[in-house]
């Protein structure tokens, strides 16, 4: 890919009088950070696809339209997040660096995957602990942490990790906020994330998600859940800075208190096991 962009640059430099094509030299030039690029033959990490600004713009537009037309296309939501989130990712990374636990995460780069979780130990934990509730959430909503798409279009290896961490923490946020994976729950979590991270994809999702809601749920959102999510999102500690993998035994309420998150005003999960989360 690098050889290709080099060939393109020389090809266009020999042309004259095509001012529009000269800009391709700028557009195809990429800013790579270190010698890492040699390791993955021009890419910064295994799933990296280098793109020019024009391609990113078209990707952002196309994925936005595709995600709006078909909200089940999670890969399009992911691409939208990657192509529009450069500034927000930089801010997030700086926040993580300033937090001691976040700094550890940036160094150690843990990944949340089914293979790295000790399921037997986690299911043996008492009710009310973070790990037990997370497993319950996974089972009830029939999701696994392995279905997250890889980051492809972020042109910085550390920011790509931050993006990946953000995706993997999303499920944990559902558990922390006690929100199910239906449309209302997703919108609430998106509102929280938008207030916390400032990622344009979250903001867009939070603004357009409510359009798919029924009137009663919309009322619930506007009256109690929405303001709660926004308030907590802005005052909570950076959720990406928490080393969740070492906190499975911690009590959920205690963890919430540590993160500055109030318990949810409405219990959306209709199971009796969740009674402890009622405020």
């Amino acid at each position: 890919m690098r050889g290709l962009s080099g060939a393109f640059l020389s090809f266009f430099k020999t042309s004259r009088g095509c001012h529009c094509l000269r800009s391709y030299g700028v557009l195809t030039g990429q800013q790579y950070t270190s010698s890492d690029s040699k390791q993955y033959d021009g890419r910064l990490y295994p799933s990296h696809i280098p793109t020019s600004s024009v391609q990113k713009a078209v990707l952002a537009l196309g994925s936005g339209v595709a995600a709006l037309k078909n909200p089940y296309r999670h890969d399009m939501v992911a691409v939208l997040g990657e192509t529009t989130g450069q500034q927000a990712l930089i801010k997030l990374r700086d926040r993580m660096r300033n937090d001691p636990e976040g700094y550890t995460i940036l160094i150690e780069r843990p990944r949340i995957r089914l293979s790295t979780l000790d399921l037997t130990r986690m299911s043996a934990l008492p009710d009310g602990t973070f790990g037990r509730e997370y497993l319950r959430f996974l089972k009830e909503n029939k999701v696994t942490p392995d279905t997250r798409a890889d980051v492809k279009f972020v042109d910085d290896e550390e920011l790509a990790y931050v993006m990946q961490r953000y995706r993997e923490v999303h499920d944990l946020l559902h558990t922390l906020l006690s929100m199910p994976t239906n449309m209302l729950g997703e919108v609430v979590v998106k509102l929280f994330e938008a207030a916390q991270t400032g990622l344009p994809m979250c903001v867009l999702g939070a603004m357009l998600g409510p359009l798919h809601l029924s009137v009663s749920r919309l009322q619930l959102l506007v009256r109690s859940l929405g303001p709660w999510a926004l308030r907590n999102g802005s005052r909570a500690r950076c959720v990406l800075s928490i080393f969740y993998e070492r906190r499975w035994e911690q009590n959920l309420d205690e963890l919430r208190h540590e993160l500055n998150i109030e318990p949810p005003p409405v219990d959306l999960i209709p199971s009796s096991k969740n009674s402890f989360s009622n405020s």
Binding site: F8, L21, Y24, I49, V54, V58, L59, M76, V79
Partner: protein, 327 residues
């Protein structure tokens, strides 16, 4: 090591059994050159480490077919949508032009290799059917005042039914054929169409079977193009026509630059947005650049044994139709 020896033995055995069939049926002059060719090919395959191109990557030869299979497996469902999006619908005109150059008469047998979702075969059946209708109309017009004898004769001949044109769609990928079958059902085409799984380098048909052999946007994905051409020669009847529709080299330099920019910048992006697959469409545009140009491909077709080989450039050379005859 064991795997390659096994494939070598299988190849040599299949070549020799094919030779035996060929010998039993054909005049002597074919035997010597056939045996020589396939014998040489069988032995030369034993050298390991032969690599070929997969787009701009280099991969071992044995792997290319599998990788191409995976590409089309993942794009099968969105294949037609992506074709329309990438070519802005122009691919339909290219395929229509192929049919016009072919100008098939009713009653012919077509082999649509790498036919995938069946675009060429559907057009072939439609063309021959409308040609048959037109011929009937012309006959009716010229026969304005038929005698009773003429009418009785016509009833007798019509009972035999119109000459059945038949199209066989052959593709190595089952998912593409599945999509094609669904399209046929939706369009209501029930007769005159067969769907066969097969490799263009080793077609599952006997010799001298088909009047026309087409391969549209498929031959650049074949690992050994010469072998595919040989197979085409084998399954065609004497007098049969070989037609290939494929991306080729653009002659105009300005158009070439625009085409390159569009291919490398836009097409993988479209692939990502519409089909969720960047890498497959990156392979697509790279494989176009790796394919030989019009003249080189014409020489390859002549080397395979076809006569009267010519090519027609469409859209300034973006696409070329190559045609040759087995005589």
């Amino acid at each position: 090591m064991a795997a390659s020896v096994r494939t070598l033995v299988r190849r040599v055995l299949s070549d020799f059994t094919r030779n035996i069939h060929h010998v039993l049926r054909c005049p002597i002059k074919h035997v010597c050159c056939r045996a020589g060719l396939t014998g040489c090919r069988g032995y030369s395959d034993s050298t390991e480490g032969r690599s070929t191109h997969f787009g701009f990557q280099t991969v071992p030869e044995e792997e290319k077919a599998g990788k191409v299979y995976k590409v089309f497996e993942s794009v099968a469902k969105k294949y037609d949508v992506m074709n329309d999006a990438m070519s802005l619908g122009i691919h339909r005109l290219w395929k229509d032009t192929l049919l016009h150059i072919m100008n098939p008469q009713p009653g012919l047998r077509l082999l649509d290799t790498a036919g995938g979702t069946g675009d060429i075969s559907f057009r072939f059946l439609e063309y021959t059917r409308s040609m048959y209708d037109r011929q009937q109309r012309m006959r009716a017009k010229s026969h304005q005042a038929p005698s009773w004898q003429d009418i009785a004769d016509r009833y007798a001949s019509d009972e035999a039914g119109p000459p059945q044109s038949h199209a066989v769609v052959c593709d190595i990928n089952k998912d593409m054929l599945k999509v094609g079958k669904q399209r046929a059902e939706k369009a209501g085409i029930t007769t005159g169409l067969s769907w066969v799984v097969g490799d263009a380098e080793e077609l599952p048909f006997n010799d001298d079977q088909f009047d026309i052999y087409t391969i549209a946007f498929g031959i650049r994905n074949v690992t050994h193009i010469e072998q595919a051409l040989q197979e085409a020669l084998r399954v065609l009847k004497p007098g049969g026509r070989f037609m290939c529709l494929e991306f080729s080299k653009v002659t105009n330099p300005l158009l070439a630059r625009l085409y390159d920019a569009y291919s490398f910048q836009m097409i993988p992006v479209l692939g990502e947005v519409i089909a969720g697959d960047w890498k497959s469409y990156q392979y697509l545009v790279e494989s176009i650049r790796k394919f030989p140009d019009q003249e080189t491909f014409k020489e390859m077709i002549e080397d395979a044994g076809f006569f009267c080989v010519q090519y027609f450039n469409l859209s300034g050379g973006i696409v070329a139709v190559h045609s040759g005859f087995k005589l």
